[in-house]
């Protein structure tokens, strides 16, 4: 499978290189759907220029990247395009290897369950075969590399690509079972933007599953493992934070990066829900709704972990989706990361209910975003409500997509336990509802 992957990598690098050299690169790097105040390349260049002028980049309100980005781009700013293409390739390869490993485990678990006769007889068609699972890793890499959202994000040189690479490496090390590296990459991902902190729950669940530690609050081994992981995580976080402090010798970056992410002072339009909400907010309620919206991102961790404790990788997918939809400055690069996982759940397609509607809405909204932006900002014939409406619709479509996959996943699990063709008491064909 290395050859098709290499071919895919070469193709995607070619596409990106061609777009870099064209005049579209300038246009794409200005688009608000692709870059946000947190991830824009223009702001990285501005921060480096401020550093050259002798002014701290965090003294103003233009630069909101972490000091490690300054470290990195201080040396590679001339090779920025290669850096971002490399980040995309690393993400794709990491996801490829992670999904390959995950598929092996899924197949092994399935084999044990079949041998233990745990599946009812009529749901044999739900059992997955190696043939159908063979091309899934390649599809995952393809979904990530050839996704227009990813290509746009890379051509715009948005640092979202770097964040995605870190998260992908975290997923890879978690699935491979390496606790230390998983903790290090998680701390790096959390350091870059706070929201991946919610991924610690699926990571812990997965690693505990892999090491056969029962997930039980009363067990000492459970708490001991959590303590180990937390220690490794906090240790690496401490090191990274210390390094950041020593770059500029001040803690200015903390309010500038994390304060910015949490308190949302910049209301530049993007594809998320925050900007217009806080632009039209009554001042009196601003803090309340800010807290509500930020808690909303972290809120689903525990309920989802409880429901999906047997399936931590699906939990990772759900968490990534929730973060991408509800974070304070989302971009299309964040969406591309969780969409890369969709081929992994391709066996759920028979239980998906809204996929046609969702895909139509997503396509239509992606096409309408630049149109309505142009009408509002350049033509002046529309106002901000038009763009806001498409934002709402886009997010509703994403929520529907995620909840549809969740429904399909739960339904398949139900069928695997109770049989595929269920009958009512009187023998007629049953309909399943959520009650």
């Amino acid at each position: 499978m290395a050859a098709p992957l290499t071919l895919l990598v070469i193709l995607s690098v070619t596409i990106r290189a061609v777009l870099y050299r064209s005049s579209l690169a300038e246009v794409i790097s200005e688009r608000v759907e692709v870059v946000s105040p947190l991830t824009a390349w223009k702001r990285v260049v501005e921060g480096l220029a401020l550093l050259d002028l002798g002014v701290s980049p965090y003294s103003g309100d233009v630069f909101h990247e972490t000091p490690l980005i300054i470290y990195l781009f201080h040396f590679v700013v001339d090779y920025a395009e290669i850096t971002f293409m490399l980040a995309d390739v690393i993400t794709a390869v990491a996801l490829y290897m992670a999904v390959m490993d995950y598929n092996k485990q899924v197949f092994r678990k399935q084999k044990y369950a079949l041998e233990a006769d745990r599946y009812p007889l009529d749901c044999l068609e739900l059992i997955r075969s190696p043939k159908e699972m063979y091309y899934i890793p390649l599809k995952v890499a393809m979904f990530y590399l050839l996704n227009p959202f990813t290509i746009l994000s890379c051509v715009a040189k948005s640092t979202c690509g770097l964040n995605n690479a870190v998260i992908a490496l975290f997923i890879l090390t978690t699935i491979k079972g390496n606790v230390l590296l998983s903790a290090i990459f998680l701390s790096l991902a959390t350091y870059q933007s706070i929201y991946p902190l919610t991924l610690c729950a699926p990571a812990l669940l997965y690693l505990m599953q892999r090491q056969f530690i029962p997930v039980n609050f009363r067990r000492v081994s459970f708490w001991w493992f959590i303590a180990q992981y937390a220690f490794m995580y906090l240790g690496s976080l401490f090191v990274i934070v210390g390094l950041s402090f020593f770059l500029l010798g001040s803690w200015d970056y903390v309010p500038s990066v994390y304060g910015f992410i949490l308190s949302v002072p910049d209301l530049t339009p993007n594809i998320g829900l925050f900007w217009y909400f806080f632009a039209e907010m009554f001042e009196h309620f601003r803090l309340f709704f800010l807290c509500v919206f930020q808690i909303n991102v972290f809120f689903y961790t525990i309920p989802l972990s409880i429901k999906l404790k047997e399936h931590p990788v699906f939990l990772i997918f759900m968490q990534l989706a929730v973060i991408s939809i509800f974070k304070s400055y989302p971009t299309v690069g964040d969406i591309a990361l969780y969409m890369a996982f969709l081929p992994v759940w391709s066996h759920l397609h028979r239980f998906l209910r809204n996929i046609f509607l969702v895909s139509c809405v997503l396509l239509a909204c992606s096409a309408l975003f630049p149109v309505l932006w142009h009408l509002w900002i350049y033509a002046g014939s529309a106002n901000s409500n038009f763009y806001y409406a498409i934002t709402l619709l886009f997010n509703v479509a994403q929520i529907l997509l995620v909840s549809d996959y969740f429904y399909a996943f739960l339904r398949r699990e139900h069928h695997l336990s109770y049989g595929l063709y269920l009958k009512r008491k009187d023998g007629s064909e049953a309909t399943l509802v959520l009650k």
Binding site: K42, L273, Y300, F326, N385, S403, K425
Partner: protein
């Protein structure tokens, strides 16, 4: 012989009869055709430079027609006289009609008296014939018809704004009936004049706007003026001094005053092209006379201004109580147009050059749309050989996010790196940007400083009540020690007038100058201010959709749906439960 004579005489008779018939026919046709009489068209343009630097142009188009609209059978063959107005005159038995549309107010103190005065807005006054029985009804119909002809809202003229003046508006044409019951006068001061009124007015001209002086009447220049007035005057006049026959006279007048600063960019030089963006190529072929008069009374020896091309024709006329001299250009003569076959009159004032300042600056915003923009500051060093440094201070509000890495300073096309830059970036809602630079300005050059910015979306409470007016950016300050030709006095204790002792003088060879640029007016994208409640509801709905679907999937489990029993069965089950018997 007898047959020959007979046939000859028959031929002669036939010829004579045919000739007589032809003459009768021709006479009859002529009688029918020119039952209208002769008509004549004249056009003229008077250009008068005003003392304030503005220029006054007055067009007059006069059609005189020897006909009688009041006759029993209708006039049917119109040539130069517009048919719409002829029909109005005959249908409504109008004796005199004066209508004017004016934009702006005539400043008598600065400009003197106009040739045809008119009030701002629309003014209409009409003398009806004494054969009209219901003057008010006719007046109402007339105003509606004129409203259609001139595309103006004259239908707003009704009894609430119509009067019958008893003494002020006597008939301007011939007429012995002065019973003011037949006079109506109305004004609409609020009426706005625009291209839609000019176009039907131009259509009434015999040559339209295709030939003659009317080609100059282009709306984009005419309406970019301080004063614009177009009028139509219809009255009966005497054909000759004995007044044996009367003709109808239609005068269309257009007065316009062009502003020195709006139209001429402050330079006192006027030409036909500058005023009207057209030149003249020919007179109207239907005009018997087509002339341009330029008032040169204030310029007898040509010492104030010069007119080109020069013309030998001069004429004197007494107008408004003053004898004035005019240079005349006759457009019916081909030599007026010269070898280039177009006439562009040029009036140039001889003025002395003002001493140019050594340092001045301009600033403007470039770019389009509400997302990004660029601030350009231009600094001019007009010293012929000395260069000097200037300190540029820019304070830009926080909502225009400057990108200092896009700062470029160029002089004479080459990069000019500032020797000192102090930049303090802004903090949202706390402090603005501060940019200070020391730039060396090369002699006799323009230095351009450009920096890109991004416009922020503010909270809805942070906008002013008129958000689409834009936000102001304060002036840049340019401070410099400019080299001085005259030695400055460094002794500050000596007795001096106050105006020379404001800025302290440290050295003799230069003086301190501070130049402020223009402030900028920048538009920011605005949210919809009527929407706070709606936005909160809609966004919370979307969050609730997410919450609701995930809640459903987390707390509920799959169950087989059993159809619920009918109502009778349910009641029976309840009774059975009460009895303690197993349900159905």
């Amino acid at each position: 012989m007898a047959e020959q004579k007979f046939s000859l005489s028959v031929c002669v008779c036939v010829c004579v009869c045919v000739c007589v018939c032809m003459c009768v026919c021709v006479w009859a046709v002529r009688a029918m055709m020119c039952g209208c009489g002769r008509d004549d068209f004249q056009e003229e343009l008077v250009i008068r430079p005003l003392h304030s630097g503005d220029i006054y142009a007055s067009f007059q188009f006069r059609t005189v027609w020897e006909t009688d609209f009041m006759r029993g059978n209708k006039v049917s063959h119109y040539r130069l006289f517009p048919k719409s107005l002829g029909q109005v005159i005959s249908k409504f038995s109008v004796r005199e009609l004066h209508i004017s549309f004016t934009q702006g107010y005539w400043r008598t103190m600065q400009w003197g008296q106009p040739f045809q005065p008119s009030p701002p807005g629309a003014e209409l006054w009409v003398w009806f014939q004494d054969s009209v029985t219901d003057v008010d009804g006719t007046w109402k119909e007339l105003t509606n018809v004129l409203s259609g002809i001139f595309c103006a809202s004259l239908n707003f003229i009704d009894s609430t704004n119509t009067v019958q003046p008893s003494a002020s508006f006597k008939p301007l044409g011939i007429g012995n009936e002065t019973d003011h019951r037949f006079l109506r006068y109305a004004t609409l001061p609020r009426e706005i004049v625009c291209t839609e009124n000019l176009t039907p007015w131009k259509k009434l001209l015999p040559c339209g706007s295709k030939a003659g002086l009317a080609v100059l009447l282009k709306s984009e220049k005419l309406f970019h003026s301080s004063f614009h007035s177009q009028a139509v005057h219809i009255r009966p006049v005497c054909q000759d001094w004995q007044c044996k026959t009367t003709s109808w006279e239609l005068r269309q007048t257009l007065n316009v005053v062009f502003d020195l600063h709006n139209s001429a960019q402050g330079k006192r030089e006027w030409s036909l092209f500058k005023m009207f963006s057209r030149t003249l190529t020919e007179a109207c072929p239907l005009a018997s006379s087509s002339k341009i008069y330029i008032d040169i009374t204030d310029n007898p020896q040509g010492e104030q201004f010069e007119v080109s091309p020069a013309t030998p024709l001069l004429s004197q006329a007494v107008v408004l109580g003053d004898r004035r001299t005019f240079s005349v250009y006759d457009l019916t003569q081909q030599i007026t147009f010269g070898t280039v076959r177009s006439l562009n009159l040029l009036i140039r004032w001889k003025s002395s050059d003002m001493l140019r300042p050594l340092l001045h600056a301009e600033r403007y915003v470039a770019g389009y749309g509400l997302q990004t923009g660029e601030i350009h500051t231009l600094m001019y060093n007009n010293h012929p050989y000395r260069s000097f440094p200037v300190l540029l201070l820019d304070s830009v509000p926080w909502y225009l996010r400057l990108y200092i890495h896009t700062l470029t300073v160029t002089s004479k096309g080459k990069d000019n790196k500032p020797s000192y830059i102090h930049y303090q970036p802004s903090k949202d809602r706390l402090r603005p940007h501060l940019l200070e630079m020391l730039v060396q300005l090369p002699p006799n050059s323009v230095t351009e400083v450009t920096v890109q910015f991004e416009r922020a979306l503010l909270k809805w409470t942070e906008y002013t009540p008129d958000p689409n007016h834009g936000f102001y950016v304060g002036s840049s300050v340019i401070s410099s020690l400019v080299p001085s030709i005259v030695a400055m006095d460094t002794n500050s204790t000596r007795e001096r007038p106050l105006f020379s002792s404001f800025f302290p003088c440290k050295e003799e060879s230069s003086y301190f100058v501070r130049v402020y640029t223009e402030p900028l007016l920048v538009n920011l994208p605005t949210p919809d201010f009527s929407m706070p409640y709606n936005v909160i509801c809609l966004t919370c709905t979307v969050v609730a959709v997410g919450y609701g679907s995930l809640y459903n999937l987390l707390t509920r489990s799959f169950q087989i749906e059993e159809p619920s029993p009918g109502l009778a069965k349910r009641i029976a089950n309840i009774i059975r439960k009460m009895r303690g018997v197993p349900p159905l």
